[in-house]
């Protein structure tokens, strides 16, 4: 979901990383309760078939919507290290909110959700964790443009974000925000299309995936060479001898400029960041305080009372392997 604030919406029998222990994973992925276990969800078969609603809005026809969404799908499909493909089936009179076995992208009016630009919902097989259906609505309470108009939100950019959820990715915390006088937060800058708060009207930067998005989708749907050509770094975030759950960890490659993020998802503060090209990385740890934490976790145990920290060791990441584990000690605010 993208908007002025954001919580990824998940449909039947799903939750975002509820407090139950989850397998340590490199990226925040949307999860469901599958056979009693919280399990990341993903499409089991390719190509993923999708429909576009046959209903447009003033200034943006159904064909405009379909073309913009198709281009957004193309951005994800073009990731060379991910094995994903999509197929547009056709226009439909079904609404995105219908649970009908069709994955539909379309406009819907949700005036009560005045901070939600768009939302993605799922139907998941609770035996296998496979996504069976995923629908995306674009809230007509906001102005939309498929042609980059300065006074409207860019349909392709928001679709690119929602397709990340459509594929099972959660939000990225690579971004900086500021509090606004009337409440809520305004985004200053981001390093991921999957950051939960959108850029302003007329901004089309999120049509282009960033290294963090590419690493996330490749880790979820790896192609044949991805695991052997990339590596991971792993460690723990510690505060006063205890693990810091939910700390945001970013890995920066000074040679390539790539910035890839992850979270301490283990109760001892463990984290893994995967999909990194081999090389030497700078590690930064910060509290999750740029966006409401429920954009990421459904867990009240998040610790945000510590200072941002640059780690004093460079981490060597090999191809096809992981760095030795390391601890980053953070200090209280």
């Amino acid at each position: 979901m993208r908007g002025l604030r954001s919580v990824a919406a998940i449909g039947v029998a799903a939750a975002i990383l509820c407090g139950a222990p989850v397998p340590l994973q490199a990226y925040l992925r949307l999860s469901a309760s599958v056979r009693g276990q919280t399990t990341p969800v993903a499409w089991g078969r390719m190509p993923v078939r999708w429909f576009a609603s046959g209903t447009g809005i003033a200034g943006t026809s159904a064909a405009d919507l379909q073309a913009a969404v198709n281009r957004a799908f193309g951005a994800w499909e073009a990731v060379p290290t991910a094995s994903i493909s999509f197929q547009f089936v056709g226009f439909t009179g079904a609404a995105p909110s219908d649970e009908d076995g069709l994955s539909v992208f379309g406009f819907e009016n949700h005036p009560d959700e005045d901070r939600t630009l768009a939302s993605t919902s799922f139907t998941v097989d609770t035996v296998t964790g496979e996504i069976l259906e995923s629908d995306v609505f674009f809230n007509t309470a906001f102005p939309w443009s498929a042609s980059g108009a300065a006074t409207a939100f860019d349909l392709q950019s928001i679709a690119t974000h929602e397709i990340g959820h459509f594929l099972g990715l959660g939000h990225s915390a690579l971004g900086e925000t500021e509090l606004q006088a009337g409440g809520g937060r305004r985004v200053l800058a981001t390093a991921a299309v999957m950051f939960p708060i959108a850029f302003g009207r007329g901004m089309a930067a999120d049509r282009t995936l960033q290294p963090d998005d590419i690493a996330g989708v490749s880790d979820t749907y790896p192609d044949g060479t991805f695991r052997e050509s990339t590596g991971s770094l792993q460690g723990r975030v510690r505060l006063g001898g205890r693990g810091v759950f939910g700390a945001h960890v970013a890995a920066f490659n000074p040679r390539t400029g790539a910035l890839v993020g992850g979270f301490a998802l283990g109760r001892e503060g463990e984290f893994v960041i995967a999909g990194l090209s081999p090389g030497v990385y700078i590690v930064r740890v910060e509290p999750l305080d740029d966006v409401a934490t429920d954009s990421f976790f459904d867990d009240p145990g998040l610790d945000t009372n510590f200072r941002a920290t640059l780690y004093d060791h460079l981490i060597a990441v090999p191809a096809g392997g992981a760095s030795p584990s390391f601890d980053v000690a953070v200090q209280p605010k």
Binding site: L188, A189, A191, F199, Q210, G257, I282, E286, H313
Partner: protein, 231 residues
């Protein structure tokens, strides 16, 4: 490169012959004295700058772009080194040689200007660096200072940087140019077939790839002192 040079020398080697000219001057067409040299010693690798890099975010339209999360400035630190060398004297002036140096420079990134005020820190990682190169040494006896004969040298080779207990290995190349002084210590008149000597060497080395990946050609100064045996 060195193997090819030695093979050409071996194939074209001629016995020394004395020629008598009209004025009685005798010349020799081949090298006199020992041909092979084996040496070893130590020295220092100088530091080198590997560049600055900002961790940038894409700014919202109203803000200056890009938006810096923090800054980094990376250097390869200085280090002691060990050196082993073999050479073949092609002519009295020219020696072809191969050299292996091993040092342990640390990679260091100074991290600053964090947007959320994270403290300045220098992040480091240990490396072991191996350089295998081949080149040519040309002695300049006409400007010798007593025993000390100056020389100039140049060559190229391969580098290997091993990080953090072999977690990551990066290969690159190097080229160098420099000079120094050689002093032979042994004496034929004493009946010693082998000659010993001292050599001091300063060169400008340029690294490419490997630890210097994406930084372009990275220069640094290398200084060594060694003993050698010629036979």
């Amino acid at each position: 490169m060195l193997v090819a040079a030695l093979a050409c020398v071996g194939a074209s080697e001629l016995p020394a012959r004395a020629q008598t000219r009209g004025n009685g001057t005798a010349t020799r067409s081949g090298p006199s004295g020992p041909r092979f040299e084996v040496g070893g010693g130590g020295g220092a690798l100088g530091p080198s700058a590997l560049g600055d890099a900002d961790a940038d975010l894409r700014a919202n339209g109203a803000q200056p772009s890009p938006y810096r999360l923090f800054s980094s400035e990376t250097r390869l630190g200085p280090s002691a080194l060990l050196e082993a060398r073999v050479g073949y004297r092609i002519t009295p002036r020219i020696t072809a040689e191969a050299r292996l140096t091993v040092g342990q420079p640390s990679l260091r990134s100074a991290l600053s200007a964090d947007v959320e005020g994270a403290s300045f820190v220098v992040a480091t990682v240990a490396t072991t660096e191996y350089v295998l190169d081949g080149g040519v040494v040309m002695r300049l006896p006409e400007i010798a200072f007593g025993r000390w004969v100056p020389f100039i040298s140049g060559g190229a080779g391969r580098t290997r940087s091993v990080y953090d207990r072999r977690v990551l290995i990066e290969n690159g190349s190097d080229a160098y140019a420099g000079g120094g002084f050689i002093a032979a210590l042994g004496s034929r008149r004493a009946g010693i077939a082998a000659r010993t000597g001292l050599r001091v060497d300063v060169r400008l080395q340029v690294l490419n790839g490997g630890v210097a990946q994406d930084a372009g050609a990275v220069p640094r100064v290398v200084a060594t002192g060694s003993v050698f045996v010629a036979f």
